[in-house]
């Protein structure tokens, strides 16, 4: 039975960009399936849109 961990927007962002803050979350995520809520997905889209990122980002 797989177990899941909900990852919040900040934690996802740190992990995604390999920031040092991400390492403290490694034990909680190891061998778990990470889950993003709709809220986090919306926040990330908002941030990308507002920052004027292009397609590549």
């Amino acid at each position: 039975m797989p177990s899941y961990v909900i990852v919040d927007t900040d934690v996802f962002s740190y992990i995604w960009q390999g920031r040092p803050e991400a390492t403290q979350f490694e034990p909680a995520l190891r061998n778990k399936i990470p889950v993003l809520s709709h809220t986090s997905v919306a926040e990330v889209y908002f941030g990308a849109s507002y920052a004027g990122w292009g397609e590549r980002n």
């Binding site: 797989p2 177990s3 899941y4 927007t9 900040d10 996802f12 962002s13 992990i15 995604w16 960009q17 390999g18 920031r19 991400a22 390492t23 979350f25 490694e26 995520l29 190891r30 061998n31 778990k32 399936i33 990470p34 889950v35 926040e43 990330v44 908002f46 941030g47 990308a48 507002y50 920052a51 990122w53 590549r56 980002n57």
Partner: protein, 178 residues
């Protein structure tokens, strides 16, 4: 009625005239330089109150869950519970079967609403149409993981993406939205 006399404006004017009475302030004059623009008096107060009580109607569409129905032939009614409150509706006989069939479902309803004097609250909605809102089918996390081909991670480095420009600014924007 003049174009800009919306229910909100009428309510504001009624409040403005609230203190006018024979024993108190009898009139309020709006004067600029030598010109008198406007006089608020008992007559205006009376007219505004009459106007305020008049029915304001507007065509609206609401989305909510259809609850409660009264199928008395003399007055077919139902209630739709929306996020912003319950709305009482009435409808004609031709909508009866539609309403019965959509009981306890999320529906979109359109019709002419009689508004309260605040111009916002709906006193009653005379339904013209009602249809089912297709809601997303809730899926389990297992189903979603399978669909999206997501597996347990051995290391967080597996989730690493390409570097983006100005990450700190991005984080600041994201946090500002909360």
């Amino acid at each position: 009625m003049p174009q800009h006399f919306t229910p909100t404006v009428v309510n504001g004017l009624v409040t403005l005239c609230g203190g006018i009475s024979r024993q108190n302030i009898t009139a309020i004059e709006f004067i600029g330089g030598d010109h008198k623009f406007f006089t608020a008096d008992a007559e205006l107060q009376h007219s505004l109150k009459r106007l305020q009580k008049a029915t304001f109607t507007q065509e609206i569409t609401i989305v909510g869950r259809l609850h409660m129905g009264d199928f008395d032939p003399l007055g077919l009614r139902c209630r739709i519970d929306t996020h912003s409150g319950s709305i009482q509706c009435d409808f004609d006989d031709e909508l009866k079967e539609v309403v019965i069939g959509l009981f306890d479902e999320l529906v979109m309803a359109t019709g002419v609403a009689e508004l309260q004097s605040d111009g916002v609250s709906v006193r009653v909605l005379h339904l013209d149409s009602m249809s089912l809102v297709q809601t997303a089918n809730a899926k389990s996390l297992d189903e979603l993981a399978q669909e999206q081909d997501v597996h347990a991670v051995g290391s967080i480095t597996e989730l690493r993406g390409e570097n983006v420009d100005d990450f700190d600014n991005f984080m600041m924007i994201v946090r500002s939205a909360r």
